[in-house]
Each structure stands twice: as structure tokens, then as C-alpha cells.
């Protein structure tokens, strides 16, 4: 039974229904893998008791309902620490939420448990999802299961959903939840050779997910195949009266949408994504991706998204502004850490010391940048201008879609995974450039998916990104499936942990 954790969700679904193994055996296989994978630092909380209870319930349900049981019934998952899970520590990998055990369950995780899924534990991430390497985590970085050929140097799994990516790539779980504000699902998925999907803004409820930048945040699945992304998204998604930005439209059968072909689809190649200094391997992969889609009958069309260059600067106004507002709640009063006060210190010192001790450096920096761009006299120059540029970025995509483009193909990241510590002395902008291909999608609210498509010469995975029309995740997944089939990416990291 040692290999059960290696299954895809679709394979496990079939095995469970055929009675080849039980949900309890599946969960135990994953729990065993997690226990042996401390070196990856992917899980920051293990919940074996919850897992086994849920797995037993899933077995009973599978027995009672047979093939009518939900697709996710009995599937063991890891949950990013950003999701509030009832009575289980939920800290957004921050010291300021030290000891926080929510009294409630996020809607997305509630939906997953209602569908019979099994929680293995909570996953490492960048603090408050602010980072691209998992190095801002209070728990220390998660480590990429992949290594360069002939090297033992630890690499980043990407971020912010780095623990989710490492856990799925190392077969510690069958799937994991992630969240994506500027690329936090797609970049780590690309760095670890897995599939990561950011749905359309409003497809999944944000209720109970620790807020970073509310107009950009969106939860999505991180999994081993495109089919698994379709299955898991179906269980996560849906309207929620508790999130006024969640869309009240039916959740389609995403898996059914995988059937059929992409003949006649028009795939856009945006010329602005051909960045100066782009590594030749990335460029080559991008061309190969276009060729795969062309061979499947799609038409490849050169397009222009003229405001691409301004997406990152706009993001680094909008996201910190929203973060400074969202993170105002961490004041040492209602939950988490409170600083010890010296004689004579009052409430202002309590706030200032609590937040200085509780937030890490990157979070402090972004909160303060956000405070500055929203402060009197600067609001119009920075925030309002960034929101106007955001309108133009969205309009670029609208124009392409109105001209008949069905999906847009780009690289997922400007490089493969880099070494932990490599960016320590770099200025923050260099780290921010990791999101150069992904951040436009959040600003425009669109669905985007990263699909593993090959290895670079260092032996590390590279991903391609597909961007779809709003609410058309099904069509997007179908196109992603073509890349997955044609690329035939089956490589796995060699086990060293």
C-alpha cells in the first residue's frame, strides 16, 4: 500500500469505488509519507486524528452511496495555512497569529469536507501569502523536492503556496488547496512540476481565508493532473452568501468539459511577454507549447496586450494598499500574539510593539508601503492611478477576447526554481519579477492555469501558463489537457528526503 499516496485524484476515485483499497488506507499512506518528509518542511500542522475520522466517514459513505458518492469522497488533501480550519491552528505562517485556533471553517474547506475529502494537515506558505519563495514563512521555508542534477543545494518550491506545491510534488497528499494573489498558485506549481489553477475571481468563496489583497485573492487547486484540477475545483467552487464577491452562477461539470477537442480554437501569443533577457529554454518551451496546440487543431495568433509592462507596478500599489487595510485587524486584542508592555506603556505601544514583533520584515514593508500610498495627498497619485491602469490591463484582455481569442499561452515563470537564500541580498523588486507573467491575470480577474511542460538543462521542471476567458475554466482546462497530453510530462523528483 506504500504507493497509494502517488495516485492522482482520478485514480484514487476509481480505486476506492472498486474497493481496491479504503479511504483509511489511502490516508494512512499519506500520513506515513508526511512523517518521513520532515526535511521538506511542507506541513506545519499534522492532523492525523481528523484525517482518520474523516477517512472512516468517507469509507462508510462510499459503501452507502457507491458511485453516487462525490468525486472527492475519501481523497486526502493538504490545506494551505491561509485557510481557517475549525479548532486547528491557522496562522497564515505568521507569528502574529500565534496560537490562533478558529471557531469556524472557511467555505472552501467546508465544501471539500462536505464532499467527503480528508484533511491531512496545514501547509507552509509565505507569511500572509506575501512572497515568491516561501522564505518569509514564520516556520522557515518549505523545500522543493526537486534538485538540480548533481547538486544537493536546497531549492525554493516557489511561493506563496510553496508548502502546497512541495507536498503535492513529493506525493505527500493527492492534492492541496492554494491561493493566488499575483501568481501564488501558478508559480510554485511551475517550480515543482505540478498543475495549479487560479479560477476566475469570484468562482470560489474567500470567506474564512485570511485576506491579503481582497480584490485579487482567489483560491484554487494544486494537483498532479489537469483532470484532478477539474475534479477538485468542482468541489471547492460555488456561490457563498458570506462572500458578496462570489458569483451566483451554477458550477459547471468541469471534468465533463475535458471531453472533446480544441479544433478551431484561437490561441493568442502576446508579444509583450517576450521579455528582454528571457532564457532561451523558456522561449523554446513556449514555442513548443504553441506547436502542441497547433497540432491539435488550434490556430495560433500573435496578439498584443500593450499594458503588460505596467502590471507589476500597478500590483505593487494595489496589493500593499489592500494588505495594509486588511492587516489592520492584527492589533493584539482579539487573537494571536500580544507584546509584553513595559511600565507606563499604553495602547499605542501595545499596537506598535505587537505588530513589530508579530509581522516579519516583508509583511511590515508591504503594510507600510500600502499605508503610504493610501495616505492623504498620495492617494490619487498612486492608488487611484494604479486602479486606472488596472482598468487598461483588463481592457487589453477584453479586446483580445472580443477579437475571437479563446485562450492565451505564455510561460508560467521567467526561470526554473532558484536556490533558497539566493535572493537574500537582492533588492525586493527582483523577487517581485517572479510574478511578471502571472500577475496580469489577477489584475484582470481571469482564470489561469500552470501546466508542467518539460525540464530545463538543470533537470528542473518548467511550466506553461494558459489564460482563459472569465468563467470559462472548463474550456481552459480542456486546452490545458492538450498541453499535458502532448508534453507527456511524467518526471518525478528523485526521493532524497
Amino acid at each position: 500500500m506504500g504507493d497509494l499516496s502517488k495516485l492522482t485524484i482520478a485514480e484514487a476515485r476509481e480505486g476506492l469505488r472498486k474497493g481496491e483499497f479504503t479511504a483509511v488506507e489511502l490516508a494512512e499512506s499519506c500520513l506515513g509519507e508526511i512523517e518521513g518528509a520532515g526535511a521538506l518542511n511542507a506541513f506545519v500542522q499534522n492532523t492525523p486524528e481528523i484525517a482518520l475520522d474523516q477517512a472512516k466517514a468517507a469509507d462508510a459513505r462510499l459503501k452507502a452511496e457507491g458511485s453516487d458518492a462525490p468525486a472527492m469522497c475519501g481523497i486526502p488533501l493538504g490545506i494551505k495555512d491561509l485557510f481557517c480550519t475549525r479548532h486547528v491552528p491557522s496562522q497564515a505562517a505568521s507569528f502574529i497569529l500565534d496560537g490562533f485556533r478558529p471557531e469556524y471553517e472557511s467555505t472552501v474547506t467546508r465544501n471539500l469536507w462536505d464532499a467527503g475529502a480528508v484533511m491531512l494537515g496545514k501547509l507552509n506558505m509565505d507569511e500572509f501569502a506575501m512572497g515568491s519563495s516561501n522564505e518569509t514563512s514564520h516556520y522557515g521555508p518549505a523545500v522543493n523536492p526537486w534538485r538540480q542534477k548533481g547538486s544537493e543545494k536546497p531549492l525554493t518550491p516557489g511561493g506563496s503556496s510553496g508548502g502546497s506545491a512541495a507536498a503535492v510534488a513529493a506525493d505527500l497528499c493527492l492534492g492541496a488547496t492554494g491561493t493566488d494573489t499575483g501568481g501564488s498558485i501558478r508559480q510554485p506549481a511551475a517550480f515543482t512540476g505540478i498543475v495549479g489553477l487560479k479560477p476566475t475571481y469570484g468562482r470560489c468563496s474567500r470567506w474564512g481565508i485570511v485576506a491579503f489583497a481582497s480584490s485579487l485573492d482567489q483560491a484554487g487547486p494544486m494537483v498532479k493532473s489537469v483532470r484532478d484540477a477539474a475534479i477538485m475545483l468542482g468541489a471547492m467552487a460555488g456561490h457563498d452568501p458570506k462572500d458578496s464577491t462570489s458569483m451566483d452562477i451554477p458550477v459547471p461539470d468541469f471534468e465533463a468539459a475535458l471531453a472533446g477537442d480544441i479544433k478551431g480554437k484561437r490561441i493568442g501569443i502576446p508579444k509583450e511577454y517576450r521579455m528582454e533577457g528571457m532564457p532561451g529554454e523558456i522561449e523554446k518551451l513556449w514555442e513548443e507549447g504553441a506547436a502542441m496546440l497547433r497540432e491539435a487543431g488550434a490556430e495560433i495568433v500573435d496578439i498584443s496586450l500593450p499594458h503588460t509592462k505596467y502590471a507589476l507596478p500597478a500590483y505593487y500599489v494595489i496589493a500593499p494598499a489592500e494588505a495594509s487595510s486588511n492587516l489592520a485587524r492584527y492589533d493584539g486584542v482579539r487573537y494571536g500574539h500580544r507584546a509584553k508592555l513595559a511600565e507606563g506603556e499604553g495602547i499605542t505601544e501595545m499596537y506598535e510593539k505587537t505588530r513589530a514583533e508579530g509581522f516579519g520584515h516583508e509583511v511590515q514593508r508591504r503594510v507600510m508601503i500600502g499605508t503610504y500610498v493610501l495616505s492623504a495627498g498620495f492617494y490619487d497619485a498612486y492608488y487611484r492611478r494604479a486602479q486606472r491602469v488596472r482598468t487598461l490591463i483588463r481592457r487589453d484582455f477584453d479586446t483580445a477576447f472580443e477579437a475571437g481569442i479563446d485562450a492565451i499561452l505564455t510561460p508560467a515563470t521567467p526561470s526554473s526554481a532558484f536556490a533558497l537564500g539566493e535572493m537574500d541580498d537582492a533588492d525586493p523588486i527582483r523577487m517581485y519579477l517572479n510574478d511578471v507573467f502571472t500577475v496580469t491575470v489577477n489584475l484582470a480577474g481571469l482564470p489561469g492555469i500552470s501546466v508542467p511542460a518539460g525540464l530545463d538543462e538543470k533537470g528542473l521542471p518548467l511550466g506553461l501558463q494558459l489564460i482563459g476567458r472569465p468563467w470559462e475554466e472548463g474550456e481552459l482546462l480542456k486546452t490545458a489537457q492538450v498541453i499535458e497530453d502532448a508534453a507527456g510530462f511524467v518526471s518525478k523528483p528523485e526521493k532524497w528526503w
Partner: protein, 95 residues
């Protein structure tokens, strides 16, 4: 626009984050690097462009104005660093 040490001090206070005196200079430098990066936005012609307020156009739903939740103060207080007699406790605010 360039941020000096005094501005960094003011921003840190507005954000209610204590920054030690000897770190303000470095912080101002980091702010300036990021602001210089975002000032590329000044190149864009935004004349007549509405700022985005909702990325997906949708009407906010309305519901009846009635109590739908609550009545569990012990849960609300369960995670408080200091709770007494059904209240959050903080250092004295009124002199």
C-alpha cells in the same frame, strides 16, 4: 517623490509598527526603491479612464436587515490574548 527618514517614521507610526531609530534610514531606502519602480505608472496615459472598482461586474446582493448570526461571546473571546468578564481587555485608554 522621495521618502526621507522623517517620512519613514511617520508612515511606520501610521501603520502602528514600531521601527527602531537606527533602522529608519534603511527602511526609507527600501520604500524609495519600490516607489521608484511603481512610478513607471506615470508613463501611462490614463486620461478619461475610470479606476477599476470591481474586477468582475456584479450587483451586490441585498438581504433582509435582520440578525442571522451571533449569541456566542465565549467563541468570540476564545482566542483573545486577554479576556475578562466577557470583554476584550486592553491597557487603560482613558487618562
Amino acid at each position: 517623490m522621495s521618502i526621507d527618514k522623517e517620512t519613514a517614521r511617520r508612515v511606520a507610526h501610521l501603520a502602528r509598527i514600531r521601527v527602531e531609530e537606527d533602522q529608519l534610514e534603511a527602511l526609507a531606502g527600501e520604500f524609495n526603491a519600490i516607489l521608484k519602480f511603481v512610478e513607471q505608472l506615470n508613463e501611462v496615459d490614463v486620461e478619461g479612464v475610470e479606476p477599476m472598482t470591481a474586477v468582475m461586474p456584479m450587483r451586490l446582493k441585498r438581504r433582509k436587515d435582520e440578525v442571522t448570526d451571533g449569541g456566542y461571546p465565549e467563541k468570540i473571546l476564545a482566542n483573545a490574548p486577554d479576556a475578562r468578564e466577557g470583554f476584550f481587555a486592553v491597557p487603560k485608554v482613558v487618562e
